[in-house]
């Protein structure tokens, strides 16, 4: 935990293309911005998921690669010298009694600002949890959704579940660490990763791991700590395994995460906004880009850019309550840095 406190005009949650462009629009109106993102780099899904994919619907670019667009946006917002907190997940949003907000990350960073702009895209990627009786009860008490430190499992009885790359890879790795490793998979083949699958089948043949196919988790049991994992196989027979650890590895799925608890109006996992300012139901909190919804919403980068421009016009009143906003063209006034 750090005790870093940052002061800024706008705190932008999400450093994807729309969050980055919001810095430009805010900067034209002399508002300073600080961006925070859970990913270790800027660019959101463009940099994380499809950096080399071409995008064809950015005005003025017949074709541009996703990462190139991010690089260009970073160049475009340079004059406005935004701050960045990367690799930290926003956990809480507090309204300050004297006005404005504090955006707090899980690592202890606080960003004190006059308005908040949520540009969170798809949201946070969180582990996909299977429907298993008592599972939540044993989270942190034997059940975990990722492997942080493999040494935790040394000489322990470990059950892994899943059929994707990470389930296969961790099964292979833990086979040499844990006392007993069992991999449970709902299917009878691994379709995605032939090399790792082959290794897993070999380890099972050699008796180094237990491989239980065509079965799924149904229930976990224990006292203070996990003791048993129950499965059901295709023939509907119950299998009971002794286990000190269960690691369900079913990938990540995008969720709103903590944002869902901030008292904002949510419609189908998206934040409802008005289309004049892209404000939420809480004065001073805006939502732009893929994370918002309104009648006619299109999840397009260019729509997010438009939303950023209108948001900035409205956020101005929170940052400079005593000033009158006059609209200026960059062609006339240029881009004046801070």
């Amino acid at each position: 935990m750090n005790n870093n406190i940052i002061h800024t005009d706008l705190c932008i949650i999400g450093a994807g293309p729309v969050g980055l462009f919001a810095v430009f629009e805010a900067g034209l109106l002399k508002m300073r911005c600080h961006l925070v993102d859970v990913l270790p780099q800027v660019g959101g899904q463009l940099s994380e998921i499809y950096p080399h994919k071409p995008i064809y619907d950015i005005p003025g670019y017949p074709e541009i690669k996703a990462q190139e667009l991010i690089d260009n946006l970073m160049e475009q917002i340079k004059p406005f010298d935004p701050g960045f907190t990367l690799g930290e997940r926003v956990e809480a949003l507090e309204k300050k009694p004297e006005g404005g907000f504090s955006v707090n990350t899980a690592d202890g960073t606080q960003i004190h600002c006059k308005a908040v702009v949520i540009a969170g895209g798809l949201g946070c990627f969180e582990p996909r949890k299977p429907e298993v009786e008592n599972l939540a009860q044993f989270e942190g008490r034997g059940v975990s959704y990722w492997v942080k430190d493999p040494e935790t499992y040394r000489d322990k009885k470990v059950v892994l579940a899943g059929g994707g790359d990470s389930a296969l890879d961790w099964t292979i790795f833990l086979a040499n660490v844990a006392d007993e490793v069992t991999l449970v998979h709902r299917g009878d083949t691994f379709r995605g990763a032939p090399d790792s699958a082959e290794k897993v089948f070999k380890l099972a043949e050699m008796g180094k791991i237990n491989l239980i196919l065509s079965s799924h988790l149904t229930k976990v049991e224990g006292k203070q700590w996990l003791q048993q994992v129950q499965l059901l196989n295709k023939a509907k027979e119950q299998i009971v395994l002794d286990a000190e650890y269960l690691i369900p590895l079913f990938g990540l799925s995008p969720k709103l995460g903590p944002i869902a608890d901030w008292g904002l109006n949510i419609d189908k996992s998206a934040i409802s906004v008005d289309t004049e300012a892209f404000g939420t139901n809480v004065d001073g909190i805006y939502a732009i880009g893929d994370i918002n919804t309104y009648p006619g919403k299109l999840k397009l980068i260019l729509s997010g850019f438009h939303e950023a421009a209108l948001m900035a016009q409205s956020a101005f009143k929170h940052v400079f309550p005593d000033q009158k906003l006059t609209f200026k063209y960059t062609t006339v006034y240029g881009v004046n840095s801070f």
Partner: protein, 106 residues
């Protein structure tokens, strides 16, 4: 026209008819037909909220690509008849098939 059947989460079965030249994927057609599907990732095979179970006609569909297979393998409760609607082009391959909507709503 292409005709196929959709069974909603509550069991209601409806016939859907779309023009052959619609040039959309199945997720987009289901959303446009007011079915309750999140489709959070917008068709990139990342969220699986557009998952459907193909109750009949699985064999006439183009096989799943690597990205779709990776996702399906990862899901805790996907079966052999599970597909991601966003990865299925709406064309003659869907003629007469029966799908059941099963993607998560949260």
């Amino acid at each position: 026209m292409i005709n196929f059947s959709v069974i909603d989460r509550d069991g209601t079965r409806k016939e859907v008819e779309v023009p052959e030249d619609i040039n959309l994927n199945l997720m987009e057609v289901l959303k446009a037909s007011e079915y309750n599907i999140l489709a959070t990732c917008g068709g990139m095979a990342l969220c699986a909220t557009c998952r459907v179970e193909v109750e009949s006609g699985l064999e006439q569909l183009q096989p799943a690509g690597d990205q779709e297979l990776d996702m399906l393998d990862m899901l805790p409760d996907a079966a052999t008849e599970s597909r991601l609607a966003c990865q299925l082009r709406v064309n003659q391959q869907l003629e007469g098939i029966v799908i059941r909507i099963s993607g998560d709503l949260a």
